[in-house]
Assembly symmetry: C2
Homo-oligomer: 159 residues x 2
């Protein structure tokens, strides 16, 4: 493929939004907790068990996700039980779905071997399989070699 | 949003393709090295400097990316210099672009504050901004609440 930029100039990597995103969701366990949230997991014990991490690690990562605004911690109470808390996706958390979907699709294609995907994502309205695609605002499908990167407004700040 | 599954049944998380993908690209520095590869970085020193990690860490992560088949290490020689190696994207590596693009887009929206994106991705053919979108095979745009997850063929293997 072509490079996305003709010359990798001195755009500072530290202001890159990929790096900013990874400051929040840059660990395996964090992204797996978000996967679980998308699959409907809400309760602490379920998160820890389904992601397969210890309770201290699950508690620390969930606390970070709440602090970063991807999940909210909401009280609930079952009859005769004390108040407990569940974790719900915020808008900010929900908008991470394309990242998780793109990871799943790449894993399906390159890492499942012969056994095929264990989970299929379908469009609820029509039943067709869902994929991540790159589209431009003129509604063209965009291939990897057809993208160019240019400095945006944030590249100009305190340069 | 709705849950993606009505009930999070006992689908084993360990066979999930998100987890398989994160076994390969589940660290911040690995994903930033891939970002650099998409921006045209090829040489070891440039990777280490632009990602902002030490040379031992860069060497270890690049070796993993080569072993996993996302990059290939290719010899080159400049006049009067000894043979050196550069890193080039493979097809497997190139197909990670939607993951990086989705992370960048999420970071642009939620983590850049008032300064705006530092990098804009444009469709080279028409100049319009590129976004990650969820589309189904019947060519509908799909919103987060419109996806349902169902067991795929890989869910049946050695259950």
């Amino acid at each position: 493929m072509n490079n996305l930029v003709d010359e990798r100039t001195e755009w500072p990597g530290s202001r890159c939004s990929v790096a900013s995103a990874l400051d929040v969701v840059g660990t395996r366990s964090t992204l797996l907790l978000m996967r679980e949230a998308f699959m409907g997991t809400r309760r602490f014990d379920d998160f820890a068990e389904r992601v397969g991490i210890g309770e201290p690690a699950a508690a620390a990562r969930l606390k970070e996700l709440v602090a970063a605004g991807l999940l909210v911690r909401v009280p609930y109470q079952e009859p005769g039980q004390r108040t407990r808390y569940e974790y719900q996706l915020t808008e900010k958390g929900t908008e991470l779905l394309p990242v998780i979907t793109a990871l799943r699709e790449w894993g399906d294609r390159w890492e499942t071997g012969d056994r095929g995907p264990s989970v299929l994502a379908r469009h609820r309205d029509c039943g067709a399989t869902v994929h991540t695609r790159l589209r431009c605002e003129a509604d063209h499908e965009v291939l990897a070699g057809e993208i160019e990167l240019v400095p945006g407004p944030g590249a100009m700040v305190d340069a």
